[in-house]
């Protein structure tokens, strides 16, 4: 696990067990360090404590949904304002609401889970991590 100590940390906030596990395993295999949370409230706490390099955030979740978590994070701290977020959706929320949240809370990107291969999501993560912040 030596190589992973220097690797970038991704927080996955997703309530679907299979999706969370599969995405987490793939990211670990790709050399990232992975943190997981099951809802926005867990995600918010973990994010503030561990300060991951990027957050993969599901939108529809129990307890606290992804858009609320993102808003709280953006309002919470200087770090929270800047951490890159990739929103994962299954087109369940109103996209206008999502687009509104994204324009308000840059930098965030929005991917439709079912339309992407895992490899595409990984590529998107790498692209975000290498982008100037």
């Amino acid at each position: 696990m030596e190589q992973q100590t220097n690797s970038e940390v991704i927080l996955i906030v997703e309530d679907e067990d299979v999706l969370r596990k599969t995405m987490g395993d793939e990211l670990r295999d790709e050399g990232f360090r992975v943190l997981i949370a099951r809802n926005g409230s867990e995600g918010l706490e973990l994010a503030e404590r561990e300060r991951p390099d990027l957050i993969l955030l599901d939108i529809l979740m129990p307890v606290m949904d992804g858009l609320t978590m993102m808003q709280k994070l953006r309002e919470g701290s200087e770090w929270g304002k800047k951490v890159p977020i990739i929103l994962l959706t299954n087109m369940s929320a109103s996209e206008d609401e999502i687009m509104h949240a994204i324009t308000r809370d840059e930098p965030a990107y929005f991917l439709v889970k079912s339309n992407y291969y895992l490899a595409d999501v990984v590529a998107k993560i790498r692209e975000r991590l290498s982008a100037p912040r």
């Binding site: 793939e26 087109m91 996209e95 609401e97 079912s114 339309n115």
Partner: protein, 413 residues
């Protein structure tokens, strides 16, 4: 149906009824019935009018049918223009669904037929309007669409998970796999993508039917947009052995376009052309700005429009199928036999996008020779509309790529 002439009761051979008996029949009808003069001023209304509109027959006589003062005024100007043109100028029956307002202000859905009655000189003397309250049916329809929408959200998580796990298997994350295993897992992954794309299409249909999708046009160059879409499809054309050509006259055509929506409509048309054209065939994509009245595929197009055409040398659409191709879930027999996997929703979605944004879509086709589709958009721009949702991108083109790679394409003649 052309308007009926006033009957001569002596010729009908029926026992002449007293006018009161006719009135009794009309008053027991469950649909509301009005008789107006040629200007729409109500001469008679049956009792059912009170049930649908809340106005009593006595209240409406002498007023204009469907006016704002009574139950009308909710439809746009173009609707009423179409109505009057049909019944007065063309002397045809007008049949349509519409929304009206009751006396108490509540809105109801109605299905109406308005027919002209012609006098001896052939001029419209009376109009007979029959209207049925279909609010309940419309509510059921909306509930059905809302259910489809909810179900397709819920249903996409499981195939997404299967597709992701299959992807990990294919990347040998769980150890090396044999060629046979690779082929089986690839089929599994692609089948799941197909399921997702059917869900996407269903979700779009429900958003179209619920009227909840938005159109957000922005200034774009139509030519370069088409050109990149064609380039994106080129690998598929190469894989299928189809010569894909693009011709767009030099200058750029910049006007307000909702890029993702337009590309979805165009993509659905193009992917059909590529799919239903046999090896060695050609698909020609062209676009042009219409500067003087020009006929495309039998339809005269006025200046101020931008016309895109997609012409293929494919199987063509059988003549008996031509009136159905834009219908939901419709697939012509000749392609259904060869390609079991289409959803029959691509052209329905394409037409909905184009027509909701003020454009037109049509085609000409000969079975065994090929098909040409045309899309015309107003250069003043696609018409914006607001709504809480966007349509889901339909990845039909990329889907065809995965089918190619699985060697699943039938050998076309």
């Amino acid at each position: 149906m052309i308007g009926t002439s006033i009957p001569n009761s002596a010729e009908s051979g029926l026992r002449p009824l007293a006018i009161e008996e006719y009135k009794l029949a009309l008053d027991s009808a469950s649909d509301h019935i009005t008789i107006t003069d040629a200007h729409g001023i109500i001469l008679y209304a049956n009792r059912a009018i009170e049930r649908t509109t809340g106005f009593s027959p006595e209240e409406v006589v002498g007023k204009k049918a469907g006016s704002r003062e009574l139950w009308g005024g909710l439809m746009d100007r173009a609707f009423y223009d179409r109505l009057w043109t049909t019944v007065i100028r063309d002397r045809q029956s007008f049949v349509s669904e519409l929304r009206n307002r009751r006396k108490d202000g509540t809105v109801y859905d109605a299905s109406a037929t308005i027919s002209p009655i012609l006098g001896s000189s052939g001029e419209v003397e009376y109009l007979i309007g029959i209207e049925r309250d279909i609010t309940h049916e419309k509510e059921l329809e909306r509930a059905k669409s809302a259910f489809v929408s909810l179900a397709s959200h819920q249903l996409r998580t499981p195939p997404t998970a299967v597709s992701w796990i299959a992807e990990r298997l294919l990347r040998e994350r769980f150890g090396p796999i044999s060629e046979e295993q690779r082929s089986a897992i690839t089929s599994m992954r692609d089948t799941n993508r197909r399921m997702i794309s059917i869900l996407d299409a269903l979700l779009n249909v429900s958003r179209i039917e619920l009227g909840t999708f938005s159109i957000t046009p922005q200034e774009h160059d139509g030519c370069s947009m088409l050109s990149s879409a064609v380039e994106e499809a080129r690998p598929i054309a190469l894989g299928r052995g189809v010569d894909l050509r693009f011709h767009c006259p030099g200058e750029s055509v910049v006007f307000p376009i909702d890029e993702p929506l337009f590309l979805m409509a165009f993509g659905n048309v193009l992917s059909n052309a590529l799919r239903y054209t046999p090896r060695e065939g050609t698909v020609d994509v062209t676009c042009q700005r219409v500067s003087e009245r020009t006929t495309f595929g039998g339809r005269a197009i006025a200046p101020g429009r931008w016309v895109v055409s997609v012409a293929d040398t494919g199987f063509g659409i059988p003549s008996q199928a031509q009136s159905h191709v834009f219908s939901k879930f419709y697939r012509a027999d000749n392609v259904r036999m060869q390609f079991a996997d289409g959803t029959g929703l691509g052209l329905y979605v394409a037409r909905s996008i184009v027509e909701h944004s003020g454009g037109e879509i049509w085609f000409t086709s000969r079975e065994g020779h090929g098909t040409t589709f045309f899309i015309a958009l107003p250069l003043s721009g696609m018409e914006p509309r607001s709504g809480p949702h966007q349509l889901v991108p339909m990845e039909m083109l990329s889907l065809s790529v995965t089918q190619d790679s699985s060697g699943d394409i039938p050998k076309d003649g």
